[in-house]
């Protein structure tokens, strides 16, 4: 019985040290100090943000950029009337703007969530 107690102390001691060390070296500080770990976290954040930005830009600009192609490939779309207006006027003059604002709102909502999650992740560790 007496021989077991010291061994238990030896086993638990590195764990407590590790836990204490992580509190005095949080990821925030790792990032701030440009350590490998910090760099890894920042790269992953940047990649997420970049992908989101490109996604939103492509979602809006892709279909928009396809419109001239559509007009020239399907000449009917140049003149067809929708809701009392020629289709090109309706799409280019009216419909574009709500879509752009909606895409912007979506982007801000997503990007702020990403940043919040990143902050939580970093502060937990």
């Amino acid at each position: 019985m007496n021989g077991e107690r010291p061994r238990r102390v030896v086993v638990t001691s590195p764990r407590t040290r590790a836990a204490r060390r992580s509190r005095s070296y949080p990821i925030v500080r790792e990032i701030d100090e440009q350590s490998e770990v910090g760099a890894l976290y920042m790269r992953s954040l940047m990649r997420t943000q970049f992908r989101l930005g490109v996604l939103v830009v492509l979602l809006v600009c892709g279909p928009l950029a396809a419109l001239p192609l559509l007009f020239s490939l399907v000449p009917l779309t140049k003149t067809v009337m929708v809701l009392g207006l020629p289709l090109p006027w309706l799409v280019l003059g009216l419909a574009v703007y709500p879509v752009v604002v909606a895409a912007a709102c979506y982007y801000v909502w997503r990007v702020e969530r990403t940043e919040r999650e990143f902050a939580d992740l970093v502060e937990q560790s």
């Binding site: 440009q34 954040l45 809006v60 001239p68 140049k78 006027w89 604002v101 912007a104 709102c105 801000v108």
Partner: protein, 575 residues
């Protein structure tokens, strides 16, 4: 048109701008107040100010004028001006704000740690700013001439002077208030008349355009030609002339104009009978209304397909590089706030751009004589008094003229402020407020001189060139600088020189030579489609060739650009 109301309203707008600027002067005391209002501008004010600053003469007058002349292809201009902000929001806004940069040259130096890159970016920034200022001052001249008959240079001089005084005296704070008020003034000045215009149009039985005909005069119309024009007469028409046609003085006689080209000298008055087809100035395609209403009709020259795509590239990617746009982001307290402000800006722009197409379509019915005189940019100014008669029509016309001046003032203020900032800091090395004021004078005087030299260009064409240069130089710099660690000073300079330099040269060449045709002219007059990819390619290859010169602090800089505010890492440097 009664010029008194318009003159009074324009004068009111100018005086109000000075007064509001003076109010701001009492608040701004220190150097940091002067430049960035100490970042106490609330997001709502700031979004209005950005909108007010961004909606220039090209938006207020030029867009409607272009659609009126060339049809729905020109709707890509306002779309580009708006989507450019979305691209800015998604890829640039927050990191740029976190970088603490006040201008693109600031960003270039902070990111690449090179004075040489900074100097090059400064020169480009001043160039783009001046290129953008010229059409504002031209537009002011056109407006004052149209509504009061004043000489063409007076409007530009008034705007340049008021803006220079305001910027010298008040700096950013006063500018923010002036700009925010001006967004709402501009929206009102375009939205209220449109309601009356549509009502008047419905009162008249909602006449539609006859698709099988070109533009026709709806009534007996007397047209005064203000500057000499070459026109294409589509079908034989008998006109009563006061003045000079085809080099002969025909005053007081009835002249039968044969189909074909005719020259009408400045000052000539032509009386057209009701229902006759409008002779159109050379350069505007004499299409039937049905052809006009179709997309991909082009601008009268060039391959419509190429021109459209080049325009899309220039405006979508050029917005982020405009000097007055970048400066505005600095007045947000942090990156998060910057994003939210930008969303509000997008909504404000979207609401505004719903209006110009209505003016363009009504102008096709009611003011077709502008196709003859070539002053298509004046369609917004002329319609209210034409369509709504009496005092109400004149008051509405005055409101539009006032709104147009608000547009010139606000955009010119923002541009002059940022050009003056760059000039005083980087190009002339003048320190302190006195240096800033000297730079402000230069920033306003040079484009005023240029506007006198190059009159008669379409507002949106010159603005389009400014966008093309910005898209080919600053867009690669900002995107690669923010997202790519391996960018080097050499790569950045080579890319800016190749993309921006070639776009500038190509654009200037086409502004100075008469419009031509063929693929070479297209490539030169709308350079963005090839100079933007070129700028990116040269910047990337140049950086990869000089891997050793990647700035040592790149990782630290990236943390500052991308770490969320919640982490509390970014140390705020207050100027």
């Amino acid at each position: 048109m009664n010029s008194t109301y318009s003159a009074v309203f324009v004068a009111l707008v100018l005086v109000a701008a000075l007064l509001i600027g003076g109010y701001g002067l009492r608040i701004s005391r220190t150097t940091s107040d002067f430049y960035v209002a100490s970042r106490t501008v609330s997001p709502w004010w700031n979004a209005s100010a950005i909108g007010g600053e961004y909606l220039s003469a090209a938006s207020f007058l030029g867009v409607a004028g272009l659609i009126f002349a060339y049809g729905p292809d020109m709707l890509w201009y306002p779309i580009g001006y708006t989507v450019g902000y979305l691209v800015l929001l998604a890829l640039v806004a927050a990191p740029l704000r976190r970088s603490g940069a006040y201008t693109v040259p600031d960003f270039a130096e902070a990111r690449l740690e090179s004075r040489r890159v900074r100097r090059m970016a400064s020169v480009l920034s001043v160039g783009i700013g001046w290129l953008y200022l010229v059409p504002q001052l031209q537009g002011a001249g056109l407006t004052l001439t149209t509504v009061t008959g004043a000489p063409g240079w007076l409007g530009g001089l008034l705007v340049a002077a008021v803006v220079a005084v305001n910027v010298m005296a008040g700096g950013m704070r006063s500018i923010t208030f002036v700009q925010a008020v001006q967004y709402w003034l501009k929206l009102t000045a375009l939205a209220v008349p449109v309601i009356f215009l549509v009502l008047a149009w419905r009162d008249a039985g909602a006449p539609a355009l006859d698709g099988s005909l070109p533009a026709v005069f709806p009534n007996d119309t007397s047209v005064t030609v203000q500057s000499t024009v070459d026109v294409d007469v589509p079908s034989r028409v008998s006109v009563f002339v006061h003045g000079n046609v085809d080099g002969h003085d025909r005053t007081g006689s009835q002249v039968l104009l044969a189909p074909g080209s005719h020259r009408v000298t400045a000052g000539t008055v032509l009386d057209f009978p009701s229902g006759s087809a409008v002779p159109q100035v050379k350069g505007i395609p004499a299409d039937t209304n049905a052809e006009w209403a179709k997309p991909l009709g082009g601008e009268g020259h060039g391959d419509p397909f190429y021109v459209t795509y080049s325009l899309i590239i220039a405006t979508f990617l050029g917005t982020m590089g405009l000097p007055h746009v970048v400066v505005r982001f600095y007045t947000n307290p942090n990156g998060r706030q910057t994003r939210r402000t930008t969303v509000v800006v997008l909504a404000l722009l979207g609401v505004f751009y719903l209006l110009p197409p209505a003016y363009a379509a009504l102008g096709r019915i009611y003011t077709p004589e502008l196709l003859l005189t070539g002053q298509t940019d004046a369609v917004v100014l002329v319609l209210p008094s034409r369509l709504v008669g009496g005092t109400l029509g004149e008051l509405l016309g005055a409101l539009v003229a006032g709104g147009a001046f608000a547009a010139f003032l606000s955009t010119s203020s923002g541009l002059t402020l940022s050009v003056a900032g760059v000039l005083s800091q980087d190009v002339l090395s003048l320190r302190g407020l006195r240096g800033f004021r000297v730079a402000t004078f230069l920033a306003a005087a040079v484009p005023f001189g240029a506007a006198l030299l190059v009159s008669g260009m379409s507002l949106a064409d010159v603005v389009g060139l400014a966008f093309a240069v910005a898209a080919s130089s600053f867009c690669p710099l900002l995107l690669l600088g923010i997202w790519w660690r391996r960018l080097t000073p050499f790569g950045a300079m080579a890319g800016m020189a190749a993309g921006g330099g070639l776009a500038l040269v190509a654009g200037l060449v086409t502004l100075l030579v008469p419009p031509g045709s063929g693929i070479v002219y297209d490539l030169l007059s709308r350079p963005a489609a090839w100079t933007v990819p070129l700028g990116f390619a040269v910047m990337i290859v140049g950086s990869l060739l000089t891997p050793r010169t990647v700035p040592a602090s790149v990782n630290r800089t990236m943390v500052r650009l991308h770490a969320p505010e919640a982490l509390g890492l970014a140390e705020e440097e207050t100027p």
